[in-house]
């Protein structure tokens, strides 16, 4: 019998099957009319198409688990359209389209280890580590005398991403970035 999830098991990141397609739960909320049935409203992202659907499940209804597996893979190279990763145990090479990378391609450092979600032996999603460290290849010069504590400027990273950094951060410095929010976290002391 297939694994099923009750509404009380719902959480973000849950991989479920709806109409035979694999989905990842990206939002859930309990709702209950005072005199009525309890439900959990969800938003589900189709792992194959990227489309987001909304579904509402009554307490007691179940969702079938999608037979997904998260596998650690090491980034190797890309040709601009396809990104190649290597299974760190089997050394199998796995190609991932730029569309499926979904922005993760902006933060690929050399040899970075990522989690790739596999469904039916196909990659369906890529998860970066929450934090990466990367060198700034170009930052606009900081405006002298600007002491506003929350002022920022654009900086380009060695991985290709352009993010906002504080004015005091300069070209060639290494910084720590939160890949979930694409935000600067701190400078990294490389000395």
């Amino acid at each position: 019998m297939a694994n099923v999830y009750e509404t009380s098991d719902f959480r973000n990141g849950l991989k479920v099957l709806v109409d035979g397609q694999p989905f990842s739960m990206i939002y859930f909320q309990f709702v209950k009319p005072g005199k009525g049935t309890a439900f959990t409203r969800t938003k589900l992202k189709n792992l194959l198409s990227g489309n987001v659907i909304e579904r509402t499940y009554r307490t007691g209804e179940t969702l079938e688990a999608a037979d997904c597996e998260d596998v650690e893979m090491q980034y190797t190279w890309n040709d601009g359209e396809t990104y190649y990763f290597q299974n760190t145990e089997t050394f199998d090479e796995v190609p991932v389209s730029k569309q499926m990378m979904d922005g993760a391609e902006d933060f690929l450092t050399d040899d970075i280890i990522v989690n790739i979600t596999m469904f039916n032996a196909r990659p369906v999603a890529v998860s970066l580590p929450n934090f990466i460290e990367a060198k700034i290849t170009y930052a606009e010069p900081g405006a002298k005398g600007n002491t506003a504590t929350n002022a920022t400027k654009s900086a380009t990273l060695s991985t290709g991403a352009t993010i906002q950094v504080p004015l005091f951060v300069e070209t060639d410095e290494v910084i720590r970035v939160d890949t979930r929010t694409r935000e600067y976290v701190s400078r990294v002391n490389t000395k």
């Binding site: 909320q29 309990f30 709702v31 209950k32 009319p33 005072g34 005199k35 009525g36 049935t37 309890a38 439900f39 409203r41 909304e54 509402t56 009554r58 307490t59 007691g60």
Partner: protein, 281 residues
């Protein structure tokens, strides 16, 4: 360490709003009752889960105790009390929450509706707010207007469409009226409609009101129906409160209402999570 309590200005606003609501009830001659939190028979509903405590239950609402007091001869009563409902959680729910209920004889839900608009208005005024006149919308019309459909006959599907497409669009303070007879809960029924209303504001259900049942036999039948539904759903049945059955019909026509205090405060101060307006353990 975070203290995990709402901001001081929110707790101050909450206290001001509650004082105004309580003052309005006192001014109208309502007697404040300390309803028991520990009860032998919790509100016997299909979709409410009472927490067991000390061989009894924590009350899910002061409804049954207040109706017994109403039947004893006090014609206007209210309670402001923490209530407990298991298996309810999320930004708009908390297992422990505060309910304001009031009951009075000599009117049905139509009089309670006027009370409700005045009391909420008084609470808002205490915070310097003036609310627009509350809208009035029939249950079926709410489906037509916001879901583009007639209410589904199946109660679960009706609730599903309600929480998805109707409730989130009830933004201005709105009374929902004319519930179909099969959605009567413990309200009396007249013709095709249950004599009850609910109040919504900002997509959130704030209150539920009834014209009270006057027939002990009808109440007993609804208890039996609810317990059968609970058993069919694999949930434990609850004991019937015989004192309440005796109380029903010992008073003239009456109306009553349960108002979620935390949710009212959420709307008055613009909070989106019940934890932002209530100290929780």
């Amino acid at each position: 360490m975070g203290l995990d309590v709402p901001a001081p200005e929110i707790l101050r606003a909450r206290a001001d709003a509650l004082r105004a609501a309580r003052g309005w009830l006192w001014d109208q001659g309502f007697i404040e009752i300390e309803a028991p939190a520990l009860v032998r028979s919790p509100a016997l509903e299909e979709h409410l889960e009472a927490l067991p405590a000390g061989g009894a239950f924590l009350h899910t609402s002061p409804e049954f105790a207040l109706k017994r007091v109403l039947a004893s001869g006090l014609g206007r009563v209210f309670a402001i009390t923490p209530c407990f409902r298991g298996e309810e959680w999320g930004p708009n729910h908390s297992v422990e929450f505060t309910m304001l209920e009031w009951y009075r004889i000599g009117t049905g839900h139509e009089g309670i509706l006027e009370d409700c608009e005045a009391l909420v208005g008084a609470a808002a005024a205490a915070l310097g707010q003036r609310l627009p006149p509350f809208e009035r919308l029939a249950y079926a019309e709410a489906f037509r207007r916001h879901a583009g459909a007639e209410p589904p006959e199946d109660p679960v599907e009706a609730d599903r469409l309600w929480v998805n497409d109707v409730e989130p669009r009830l933004l201005a303070p709105t009374f929902i009226l004319d519930y179909p007879a099969d959605r009567c809960a413990f309200a009396s029924v007249r013709g095709a409609y249950a004599e009850r209303f609910e109040l919504y504001w900002g997509g959130l259900e704030l209150a539920n009101a009834f014209t009270e049942l006057l027939s002990p036999d009808e109440l007993r039948a609804r208890f039996a129906h609810n317990n059968a539904a609970r058993i069919a759903a694999g949930r434990a049945p609850y004991p019937v409160d015989e004192r309440l059955v005796r109380a029903i019909g010992q008073h003239p026509r009456a109306g009553g209402i349960a108002l979620g205090v935390d949710r009212l405060i959420m709307r008055l101060v613009g909070a989106s999570d019940i934890r932002d307006v209530r100290v929780l353990g």
